[in-house]
Assembly symmetry: C2
Homo-oligomer: 304 residues x 2
């Protein structure tokens, strides 16, 4: 077995994942658990991290670096890694690493997130910037990308960096509307995905202004009330309506395809939604991109 | 004291109100309590209603009618009064009254709600149609109206009826986003209204598509995170963003003023929001309109 030359991690709010890799980024071992920031008591991050991958530290080559991304660099994390303001090039990630005291002789660094500003409104990401860097490294091409999730992030890679990006709260709003309130009442939230209802929701999102969305949302209830959509189809219809709104806004004026980065259940919905509105989509697994970027950041910073 | 010639009521899901009036609609007595449909056990509507206004029944002239509107006519109410499909004239309300067995010799009727359809999506109202009828009776003028509430209703009165109407879920969405989730985290929900933050939210709603709303909502969090809006101002900002979206959509192409009907705390926000986007608004108390309409319906139906 090759030697562990670097330890890479994505430590989020509710989960964390880590990979032990060789110099070329080949995965020698990997782990995930539910000890996100919220699971760490009394800010005992180091002890928690040793509990997670302590055996890798012993097995790794001397001074093999540890590079982490995600909410671990937020105010509530192990140590704050302030946002780098976009427009920014990916090379700045290595320049703004935040150092923690070495662990058993291994340098340990947290990558910063990116911030952006549009019409005076700030926006932020932590973790996604690394996947985007990974895509740039693997394709070296300008590209519109979306990372679906509770908060999906849209960013255009341009010339090795980001000019800006946008967060859409689509996933969270969907969860809230399915969880309680008027729309939830007639829904059967555990019903399987209904592709036809999803497509119907996508069509209803066409041409909708912000206010029209507040009106069209009510059709989730009224279609159920009038028996025109069964309870099992309402969540898929709502999902189509919300995702359709996001996709239409985020792809205005787009000439080309969209990279749909990630591995969540939502990626399939995004790919089929983009196809339905006539936009070509390429699904890309986010984990290899993340590892590629974290390893590159270690190299950019002279740690490897 | 004049005699009670009619008993008028608005019986909703969580509250009910009733008025004892003379032949000219002058209010002789009025009551409200929290025994909405949800408060009535085992469908004992008659007993509950007798408990509420039983003394009026004894004091009223023989055969004085009782006319009710609101959710009491829904599937979950005392008796279902099926929706009248718009386009509809207000005169149809009397034609589609649903009769219950007389109570101590008093005829008792439930007014139907209205339904509408736009691009295949159904919409419904129960209770608001009576206030709109009341406005028609008092002004005899075509008019764009809004009835703010958890679900606000927009309807254009035209020639003694409605061609259609729209429900906006603005109020409910506001409550849900203030109650839990990412935006709620930084908010101080009990803070007093912040007029400047409300106006800022109104501006941010300008030109927003449905998807752009899903993005701009995130600024409630990011402005808080960056300390650019204090926690006490975030709910007012969100309120401006959502109400602004509704107002802009509902007044597209409008030439004239909007009647803002009701008495809720939200009416003031709607009036100030309309003014901010350059639309004249006239606030109108909804209760007298409701009584005017219910009494007229009693007359239209030959009960008075």
């Amino acid at each position: 077995m090759a030697e562990i030359s670097a330890i890479l991690a994505d430590w989020g709010t509710t989960n964390r994942r880590a990979w032990a890799v060789d110099r070329d980024g080949n995965v020698l071992d990997q782990r995930k658990d539910d000890q996100g920031l919220l699971g760490v008591k009394d800010r005992a991050f180091e002890a928690s991290f040793r509990g997670f991958i302590g055996d890798w530290l012993k097995a790794a080559t001397p001074a093999a670096p540890i590079v982490m991304a995600g909410m671990v660099g937020s105010k509530l994390g192990w140590r704050e890694a302030p946002y780098v303001a976009a427009p920014a090039r990916f090379g700045q990630l290595a320049e703004h690493l935040v150092a923690l005291p070495d662990v058993d002789g291994h340098p340990i660094r947290i990558a910063p997130g990116f911030s952006a500003r549009e019409d005076g409104r700030p926006d932020v990401m932590r973790g996604e910037e690394c996947q985007l860097y990974g895509l740039w490294l693997s394709a070296r091409a300008d590209r519109l990308c979306v990372l679906p999730g509770t908060h999906s992030k849209w960013a255009g890679i341009r010339n090795g960096g980001l000019d800006g990006f946008r967060t859409y709260m689509t996933g969270e709003l969907f969860s809230q509307l399915c969880g309680s309130g008027t729309l939830a009442q007639l829904m059967q939230p555990d019903a399987p995905h209904d592709a036809a209802a999803f497509q119907r929701g996508l069509s209803v999102s066409e041409g909708a202004s912000a206010g029209a969305l507040l009106n069209r949302l009510f059709s989730v209830r009224s279609l159920g009330l009038f028996g025109e959509l069964p309870g099992e189809a309402l969540a898929s219809y709502l999902s189509g309506l919300l995702i359709g709104a996001e996709l239409r806004d985020a792809t205005v004026g787009l000439d080309g395809s969209v990279a749909v980065i990630g591995s969540s259940r939502m990626n399939g919905l995004y790919v089929s939604g983009l196809s339905a509105i006539g936009v070509e989509a390429e699904p890309i697994d986010g984990d290899p991109l993340l590892r590629t970027a974290l390893l590159a950041i270690a190299r950019d910073a002279g740690l490897l």
